[in-house]
Symmetry: C2
Subunit: 376 residues, 2 copies
């Protein structure tokens, strides 16, 4: 896996690059739509490619392991063949999902025992097992198995948890590099920086992760409820330590504002359920600001959803029609809003990339943050 | 509105024709996807046109009147402009929906008072009002306001109900022909034959309806729970009375078998929620028979949903992937299954039309009924 920087913004740490994988090149900075169980909710694969112009999507190890299960994914020849998505796929390690299970999981040094949210059945994840599972899923980018600390988090818990994450990482690296890709193409492992919102822990963790010398690095444990300022402080600190010649992935982030600010801090990759989850509740991100389509205000607004954005759904369907669909719980409402929001997110990172290449990112970012975070 | 027969099957009463409307020609026999509240559930408008190859869709007066409401539809310039569907639209009159409300409606000679299923608010439909509403929706084909009798139904109730439907029809015809289209294009009124499963009532009603001399005629009150043999007997009887030079529309029918059998009896138009509603529960109609995709049997069947049918979703997605989506309640499962089933229904009527034109419909129909109704 190769990463080539093509431009660095003169007035911020924003970078434009190309990450080359066995399933194609990814222009960075990039946003990765989340396809939890092998489907980006309410979106067809061809819409992801043709309308949204996604370059890489996410899958969730926890969900895919439970259903459809690794046996079937192996039989299909990996997730790409199972769901028909031919571009790169990144899988998270399941650490975050298992952490979310709260009382239904038990963490030990060895790994995590948890109960399935589907049928209550018991399962055990270890760093080694999770490497094998992600190899079997056929992800192009495999995430290390970590513990994601909640927010707020006691210093001592965060410190112990970070130590555990580092121990697990060593086991992940060992297992990953002693096993082969399953389907004949290259897979890469990204380790994850933890350390909650404590500067000294984040520094230690970033140094530990940088020393692993893997082809890309991630920052986890942010966007879990901390103030945005903390997210930016930690991200900036960590970006200063992680190597500049490798892609940096900020996990689970975020709003358009978060993404623009973190691009400015040197982040190259993002993922978040927000554009799709909020779409299903009628929240639209547009080139003019944020719209709650359920509001009375849009009731008889027959103008297109977002003509400036372009793309089929955003210009073909009107705000009033979409509002009607969302209010009436028509499935098509979730479909239109999801495609629209993802189209917007991918447009946003493409625009950011253009501005970085033109050397005008910093000032564009400041005005864009204002526009995209205002409520219409 | 013109109807031109192009072929009649030598061994059955099946006909091929073209119904010309202001929004384009419709090749008959035709199946009309149901878009209750202005959206065919889980299907984009461009998918209806490009993938499913629908030629006309249905809207429901009852639902559209409640939401988004006539005022907004008028402001948009009719339903076509509101939802972006540019081909013909037929609206049912709301008679069937109001009848379904059971204790929440009261029928008098004047009309029907009912409570909204959404907010319990009180409303009143009259034959005249329902003509005005459908004019305002901008339907190409407007259905008369009738009472749809349940099954089973006492003879006396069916007789009185039929008399009421006929009285209302006279009022519908009067109102319709004393009012103008709202948006500058032709609209046509189709009256509806009632009479439950009683031959003498069906005969009387068919004669009454034929005498109205409208550009098309419909058969209502079937597919409400009666044995299929009764449906076929009544349809055959009524088709023998309704004029041959006008399209005949059998409302709310049905399974692929029902459709093929009723094409053989002289029906030209069909609608039914079955392909979309059953799709959402995982029931697929295919060129090989009926599939319940939730069954264990399809768990690791990585073959396309229906390669013989063709079309994007039926060849791109596998049975195992669709099963995974449906079992996990992923929205994409409903989307794929809905598009697939509607593609199949439209394929079925196109094939029927081809066979009628070739003069081989009757024998093809018999084999096709067997294939499409077997459970795989």
């Amino acid at each position: 896996m190769k990463f080539q920087l093509s431009a660095v913004d003169p007035q911020s740490s924003a970078r434009a690059g190309v990450l080359s994988t066995a399933h194609g090149d990814i222009q960075t900075p990039i946003f990765m739509p989340v396809g939890t169980a092998g489907s980006v909710k309410a979106v067809h694969q061809r819409e992801l490619e043709d309308d949204i112009r996604a370059q890489i999507i996410l899958g969730n190890t926890y969900h895919l392991y439970l259903r459809p299960g690794i046996e079937l994914l192996e039989k299909a020849g990996g997730l790409h063949r199972f769901n028909g998505w031919k571009k790169p796929i990144l899988t998270d390690s399941g650490g975050y999902q298992v952490y979310s299970l709260a009382e239904n999981r038990k963490i030990s040094d060895e790994g995590v025992t948890f109960k399935s949210h589907i049928d209550g059945s018991k399962h055990h994840f270890t760093p080694e097992g999770v490497m094998d599972i992600q190899r079997a899923i056929g992800a192009d980018i495999i995430m290390a198995f970590d513990e994601c600390t909640p927010y707020p988090c006691e210093y001592n818990y965060a410190k112990q948890s970070m130590a555990l994450t580092h121990e697990w990482l060593a086991r992940c690296v060992k297992r990953f590099h002693s096993t082969e890709p399953r389907y004949g193409y290259e897979q890469a492992l990204f380790p994850i920086v933890q350390g909650s919102t404590f500067k000294d822990l984040r520094e230690q963790s970033a140094e530990f992760i940088a020393n692993q010398n893997q082809p890309g690095n991630a920052i986890g444990g942010l966007s879990v409820g901390e103030p945005h300022e903390d997210m930016y402080t930690m991200t900036s600190l960590v970006c200063g330590i992680l190597p500049a010649d490798k892609p940096r992935y900020l996990m689970g982030v975020g709003t358009p504002e978060n993404i623009l600010e973190c691009i400015a801090l040197g982040i190259d990759m993002f993922d978040c359920v927000m554009p799709t989850r909020n779409a299903r509740n009628g929240m639209l991100f547009t080139t003019q600001g944020i719209i709650n389509i359920r509001n009375e205000r849009w009731k008889d607004d027959l103008s297109p959803i977002d003509p400036t954005l372009g793309g089929h759904v955003s210009t073909f369907y009107s705000k009033a029609y979409l509002r009607h669909l969302v209010i009436n719980k028509e499935i098509l409402g979730a479909q239109i809003a999801s495609i629209h929001n993802l189209t917007f997110y991918l447009w946003l990172v493409r625009e950011a990339r253009k501005k970085i290449e033109e050397g005008t990112f910093a000032s564009w970012k400041n005005s864009m943050v204002k526009i995209t975070s205002q409520r219409l």
